[in-house]
């Protein structure tokens, strides 16, 4: 594993405690990365360089990853322009439908949903043309 990829929380821990390699590994395992797939469609992909599918490793953290954290992470890491067309306050802007593993996020707890490994989160901008 590439230690560069760990979060600042993990790195801070590493610096302050100066544990042995074995201990360190245990600590790092505890905060391991969370691989998920993030997808954009319906035009939402235009906000992130016209790339629809992003396989990402979310940095390990002490608390569970929730959709609410993911939204901020996406805004900071994937969105390249006009973030206001993705986020409004702490949730997605009106007109974006969020799917968690092919189901409406409302069925899954919306912002509170805890991400699992290999989850597929899709952000769909609804279309209006015809």
């Amino acid at each position: 594993m590439d230690s560069n990829k760990f979060t600042s929380a993990g790195a801070a821990h590493q610096n302050t405690t100066r544990q042995s390699n074995v201990d360190l590994k245990l600590k790092l395992n505890k905060f391991k990365m969370l691989p998920v797939t993030v997808e954009f469609s319906g035009g939402a992909e235009l906000l992130c360089g016209n790339v629809k599918k992003h396989d990402v490793d979310l940095p390990g953290q002490q608390n569970k990853w929730q959709i609410r954290n993911l939204l901020v992470w996406i805004k900071d890491n994937l969105i390249q322009e006009r973030p206001e067309l993705f986020l409004l306050g702490d949730t997605v802007r009106p007109g974006i439908l969020v799917l968690i593993n092919d189901a409406d996020w409302e069925l899954m707890g919306e912002l509170d949903y805890e991400l699992q490994e290999k989850d597929r989160i899709v952000f769909i901008s609804t279309l209006h043309g015809g």
Partner: protein, 510 residues
């Protein structure tokens, strides 16, 4: 551009006019024919009372032969056909979705088919709105669809409505139909249709398409959600793209519209829809169809919930902050002093006034057509993504232009100094800059001019504004050289469309 009357030009013009006359003759013939036909092909311009669609007792010999291939399906059968022929469907929107939906419903033998559209056929519709024809450009879309469907199956009762669906007329029309198809192209009409269908208790088969993607859902049916359950708030207008802006591959609405017809046929014949509380996502680039599960009807929904606050139709244009059409809106964000019209730009060109022409259309559109002057292409999206980079490119463009201008001026000076006139002038002026005068071929750029252009004159305004603000900001933060001369930014009103309309009739419109 000067109108020249060469033989070739006149011949070309004549050819065009002959073509136009032919088209008008066709149109006239079409209209004459339709006035001989029964009520059928006369479009209604307001909601009117229709006779009840009588129950179909049994199928005729002609019916059985025509519909034989669907009659032998055990899931459908005579029972399904009889139900279908007793059902009325209203299609709202006679465009890319409405055409394929109408043609399959007509072919399958739906009892009554209403088609609503306020618009007329345009040439740029035909690549996807496949029931209209080249000689019907200018004809009412709803009439055009009905006329095509009539030729396919005259057993169906057709009701063309040449009107804009509104809060005033929507309920009156929708109440008289069993199933409604949302084949519209704008957010406001989608909310209007949703609310009207909830109030009138009709299932709404909703389709949409843009670029290479399509979506399909059935709202307000069998305990499923309505459009508002899913989207309580309308999207911000600036996030909404229509087909004339974003483009669309014709087959995509073709597929979604066909599926709307299919779901309507399934509902009408009693099979039931597969898209209650589900949404189909079609991605033509990836070649994938994905069906996703949606939330159920929301008890808190303000129109279909347990305690609805919307009990009659409201003002949807106001609610959505956008017009109930996909016609381009003319933006006005820039002060008049920073705008020139196409005639003024044409004059600038003929005076050979040096300027940087900044074309902010997407790269792909530069291949379609360009103004007759070299230009710097920085797509609009770049200004949104990285304004400082875009500004740097513009400043570089101005520098390059100044250098080019200087070079050509030197050449001119050299040639002029032979007869001495220029030297004298220069001496009198007391500096090395020449004042602009009528006779000068090249004018030095005291105030560099940047002329910004786009397709219709909306993006160009936004870009000029952004550039002005960015430079002001850079200057105040000391990031910009104080000796940097003021740059005059203007945009061309109406963009290339205005150029084609008022200056060069041969210039393509897209």
């Amino acid at each position: 551009m000067e109108e020249s009357f060469s033989i070739e030009k006149l011949q070309e013009k004549l050819k065009e006019k002959i073509k136009e006359v032919e088209r008008l003759k066709h149109l006239l013939k079409d209209l004459k024919e339709s006035s001989c036909e029964p009520d059928l092909l006369r479009p209604k311009t307001e909601c009117c009372r229709l006779q009840n669609l009588g129950p179909v007792a049994n199928l005729t010999k002609g019916d059985i032969e025509r519909y034989s291939r669907q009659l032998i399906l055990p899931e459908f059968g005579v029972k399904g056909q009889v139900k279908l022929q007793s059902t009325s469907v209203l299609i709202v929107g006679a465009g890319g979705l409405g055409c394929p939906a109408a043609v399959y419903l007509a072919a399958a033998g739906i009892g009554r088919l209403g088609v609503v559209d306020y618009d007329e056929v345009e040439l740029s519709n035909l690549h996807r709105q496949i029931l209209h024809t080249s000689d019907r450009v200018g004809l009412s879309k709803s009439l055009s669809i009905v006329r095509s469907c009539y030729r396919l199956n005259s057993n169906v009762e057709y009701v063309p409505y040449h009107l804009q669906l509104s809060s005033e007329n929507a309920l009156g029309i929708i109440k008289q139909y069993d199933i409604v198809l949302d084949a519209t192209d704008n957010v406001a009409t989608r909310y209007l249709l949703n609310d009207a269908c909830v109030l009138a208790q009709k299932p709404l088969v909703s389709g949409s398409a843009l670029r290479f993607e399509g979506q399909l859902t059935v709202y307000n049916n069998n305990g499923g959600p309505c459009y508002r359950c899913l989207f309580p708030q309308p999207p911000p207008p600036e996030s909404v793209t229509n087909c004339s802006e974003g483009g669309v591959i014709g087959v995509v609405p073709g597929i979604i519209g066909s599926m709307q017809a299919l779901e309507a046929i399934k509902i009408a014949s009693g099979i039931g829809s597969s898209y209650n509380q589900r949404m189909l996502l079609f991605d033509a680039l990836d070649g994938t169809f994905r069906s996703v599960k949606l939330r159920p009807r929301s008890p808190a929904c303000i129109v279909c919930g347990n305690d609805p606050s919307i009990t009659q139709l409201v003002d949807y244009v106001q609610f959505c902050g956008s017009a109930a059409s996909d016609k381009d809106q003319e933006l006005s964000v820039l002060d008049q002093q920073f705008r020139i019209n196409v005639k003024e730009y044409q004059a600038m060109l003929s005076r050979r006034e040096p300027h940087l022409l900044l074309d902010v259309r997407p790269e792909v559109e530069m291949d379609i057509c360009q103004l007759p002057h070299s230009s710097l292409n920085i797509p609009f999206a770049t200004f949104n993504r990285d304004i400082s980079k875009a500004t740097r490119q513009v400043l570089q463009g101005i520098k390059d232009l100044a250098r080019e201008n200087q070079d050509s001026q030197h050449q001119q000076e050299n040639s002029k100094s032979i007869d001495g006139t220029f030297m004298q002038l220069s001496h009198e002026e007391g500096n090395h800059r020449k004042k602009p005068s009528e006779n000068d071929k090249f004018i030095p750029i005291d105030t560099p001019a940047v002329v910004c252009v786009c397709r219709r004159g909306n993006d160009s305004q936004v870009v000029v504004k952004k550039l002005q603000e960015e430079l002001k900001m850079q200057l105040s933060q000391g990031e910009l050289d104080r000796n940097q001369p003021d740059i005059k930014f203007v945009d061309i009103k109406g963009g290339l469309h205005a150029w084609a309309r008022h200056v060069d009739s041969q210039f393509p419109i897209y």
